[in-house]
């Protein structure tokens, strides 16, 4: 059942199955747009399976498609290891599988299970970069707030690590509320927690680091009318909303979480592997896609905004 709706010139169109953690999150949504946009350009038909942030649902969906004919697959697992079985079956039918953002299986077992390559951002780096920028803005002293994502996600844990390693270098910085506050990527939980933390003290809180732009933006309005109005806020993701917030000066800075690059790389790599019959051993085990810091001072704001534009999907 291979229909060629793809604008691939003479190349025979390919068919790839994509799945990600959950389209509820804008990050995953952008990934989908990217894959579909670049799929068109490269003559790859992208079929999407939403993980709905439920490992069982994702597994149910993937189990159903392992027998269909794919040229390659790219999965972002809701939960590490949960897709091992279907991936093994795909390997039996030697269909290359790429892992996005979250490890499908532990690195040492990747090839044995049938994962060719893991394409991921550097979570620790992103956390650290945004935090370092925050420290620079507040001159390395004062109170800061640390709002985390879903504690169960390796991404969130990485960003926490990045934050904490950097903050450890600044003895005069105190984290309000006894450390990271996990908010499950939920704007509302983040907002409730943030509001409460703001009330903890009358003396101005210097800054805040959020694991995602979404949560940060949802919390911005809370500052109005509090003694903390001049607080610096940095976060991670650097996509449309985030960049706009930076441009408007609401966010001090954000580090790009290169979702588009990750999905694009996966797609391009996949079609190389298939079209050029590349052997597995020349494909790197891990590809870490870079994500720069963006603020009004870094000077890359316009460029990033252009790249992040949903019509280009390039960061």
């Amino acid at each position: 059942a291979r229909q060629s709706g793809a604008t691939g010139g003479d190349r025979k169109p390919l068919r790839a199955a994509f799945s990600n953690a959950g389209l509820q999150s804008t990050w995953c949504k952008l990934g989908k747009d990217t894959a579909e946009l670049w799929g068109k350009l490269l003559g790859v038909e992208v079929v999407w399976f939403d993980g709905e942030f439920d490992p069982q649902k994702q597994r149910n969906k993937i189990d159903l498609i392992v027998d269909d004919d794919w040229d390659f697959c790219c999965f972002q697992a809701v939960q590490t290891d949960s897709l091992e079985e279907p991936v093994r079956q795909l390997k039996k039918r030697n269909i290359p599988v790429m892992s996005l953002d979250t490890l499908l299986v532990a690195p040492e077992r990747m090839r044995e299970v049938g994962v060719w390559c893991e394409i991921m951002p550097d979570q620790v780096f992103m956390g650290a970069t945004s935090t370092r920028e925050l420290m620079r803005r507040i001159n390395g002293r004062g109170k800061v707030i640390h709002i985390g994502g879903l504690s169960a996600h390796s991404g969130a844990q990485g960003r926490r690590k990045g934050f904490e390693t950097v903050v450890a270098e600044f003895p005069d910085v105190e984290v309000v509320g006894g450390g990271v506050r996990w908010c499950d990527w939920k704007k509302q939980t983040a907002r409730d927690t943030f509001d409460t933390l703001l009330d903890q003290t009358r003396e101005p809180i210097a800054g805040a680091f959020f694991h995602s732009d979404d949560m940060a933006i949802a919390c911005l309005p809370a500052l109005a009318g509090t003694p903390h109005e001049r607080m610096f806020i940095t976060a991670v993701d650097g996509q449309k909303e985030g960049l706009t917030a930076v441009r408007e000066g609401k966010l001090a800075a954000t580090t790009v979480n290169p979702v588009c690059l990750i999905h694009m790389t996966a797609l391009v790599l996949g079609q190389f592997i298939v079209r050029n019959q590349e052997p597995v051993d020349i494909v790197p085990l891990q590809i870490v896609t870079p994500g720069p810091l963006v603020s009004l001072e870094t000077g890359n704001l316009d460029a990033m905004s252009y790249l992040a534009d949903p019509r280009h999907c390039l960061v």
């Binding site: 509820q24 949504k29 903890q200 309005p221 809370a222």
Partner: protein
Amino acid sequence: MAVPPSQNRSLARRLFGRWEASDVAPLVSLAVLVVFFALVAPGFLKPATVVQVLKQGSVLAIVSVGLTFVLLCAEIDLAVGMLALWTACLCGFLFQRPFAAGPSGAGAAPAWAVVVAIAVPLATSLLLGLTSGLLTVWSRLPSFIISLAMMNIADGMSRWLTKSENLNVPSILKTIGNRGIEITNRFELSYSALLAAAVFIVGHVVLQHTRFGRYVYMTGGNREAARLAGVRTGRIVVACLAISAVTAGLGGLVNAGRLNSVSLDQNADLLLSAVACVVLGGTSLFGGSGGMGRTAVGVITFSVLKVGLNQIAWIDDLARPLLMGLVLMVALVVNGLLSKNK
């Protein structure tokens, strides 16, 4: 069941009108909770906390008002959370149409467009509520089941409509959700809290001083008896489910305003929180007894619980949900026991 000994009954009477143990219980556990946090969370007792409780409680409050109607007539509505989500999503969707703020959601929307973007979603949630109601009455299935399905439908509609975009909402909602009236420089009365209060008062008046309200109680108390007395109980049930749908929608809008935009991750645990609130207030799940006053107490208790827990700095953040659960259990059981021994 049994008649309490006349003397302490009359005492209770003298003290607070026609209150009974079951009316006082929720207040007791609220008081206990406040004392508890005053002890474990330094700086809990300050105006700012009140502001927070009001702010964070208001969405819950608005939704609980509708849910109270439903529980009073001995039905339940599991769809409130997803109806709230759907209403907000549709609002965002309309708001980003060309006729309003445009695709970016940044443009300036004409007043009428804003009205449309707010009124139409509320209308649809009303419609969905009516649907659940009519299906419940017609199929004679428990509303538990119907609203369970309706929950899935509303959720599905939201995903399908928004394509999981993050949508912008009218600025008036943002104002309601985030601004308020400065009373003192320490104490700001948020608009959302005022709105919630208004909804509460309307709800209370309807329940206590209109025939409809009375019929709600009687339908919940004994549906057959109400029917034999000429009450069209079917309509009452439908109306209650419709009301809860609308309040849910309103809550969703306010919430979206507060969070500056709407996305699919919102209102996920609104249902359970709202149920917990109403039940903490002591409104019966079996209909006929309870009221807005109680629900108000319940909402405040629940918000105090949330805010208080967030204020305790010295506990491991990962232990908070557990503590939440334990305190909730204790509060509920204590309520139950207090109100039982009449």
